[in-house]
């Protein structure tokens, strides 16, 4: 086997390894799950009380960041009480589905 073959094999296995680490969310299920989120995140400029700041825009946000954020609320690394409660009610699959849907969105002009 020549060097080129080895290179190809390495590339293919690297691709496979990366592929398995990728999120496997189901966006259409995510679309159903985000119904709850819209109560706050669906109102442009909606602001929390204590502390007082606008809830973030989450449509179009990056997939793995959303997964990380929800898991951080779950683990206590992020502390906003409403989001901690929401995240605790979600399974790992729910979180991946939500992230798949949100990251697929583009702003409505």
């Amino acid at each position: 086997m020549n060097r080129l073959h080895w290179l190809g094999l390495a590339a293919v296995s690297a691709f496979l390894i990366v592929g398995t680490a990728q999120a496997t969310g189901n966006a259409s299920n995510g679309r159903k799950l985000v119904y709850t989120c819209a109560g706050c995140h669906g109102i442009p400029g909606y602001t929390n009380a204590y502390p007082n700041y606008p809830v973030p825009k989450i449509a179009g946000q990056n997939e793995q960041y959303i997964i990380n954020a929800l898991n951080e609320y779950k683990s206590g690394d992020r502390t906003y009480p409403t989001m901690v409660a929401q995240a605790q009610s979600l399974s790992e699959q729910n979180i991946q589905d939500i992230a798949a849907y949100l990251s697929s969105l583009k702003p409505i002009k």
Partner: protein, 116 residues
């Protein structure tokens, strides 16, 4: 006396916790301070690597809140903890002003949920 003191502390902490974040930062100053952020969050504020959030067009006061939370430990993230350690309140206002002013790929969920 003791009760009065407790009441005073409670009021004081409420006032502190609710200090309003003002959108008074300088976009130009923020731009020069933001160079460190670009490596992960993208030169246009739209991170390419999906593990990092897009900042472009996010709400100004939300970005300030996030940076303050990284700084005081309410958000525990090893990378961002190091990044914000040296930021002043003014730096935070300027950075938030800059990133919130950029063209966005973000949106609220309005129009994106079932039934809309």
């Amino acid at each position: 006396m003791k009760r009065a003191l407790i009441l005073l502390y409670c009021t004081a902490s409420l006032v502190l916790a609710s200090t309003p974040l003002l959108a008074s930062g300088s976009i130009a100053a923020g731009k020069t301070k933001a160079t460190t952020c670009f490596a992960c969050h993208g030169t246009d504020g739209n991170a390419v690597d999906p593990q990092y959030p897009r900042l472009a067009g996010q709400y100004n006061e939300y970005l300030q809140q996030a940076l303050h939370e990284y700084k005081d430990g309410r958000r525990n993230n090893p990378i961002m903890k190091g990044m914000v350690a040296t930021l002043s309140d003014q730096d935070i206002e300027d950075l938030a002003a800059y990133f919130s002013s950029l063209p966005t790929k973000l949106d609220t969920l309005k129009g994106h949920i079932q039934g809309d």
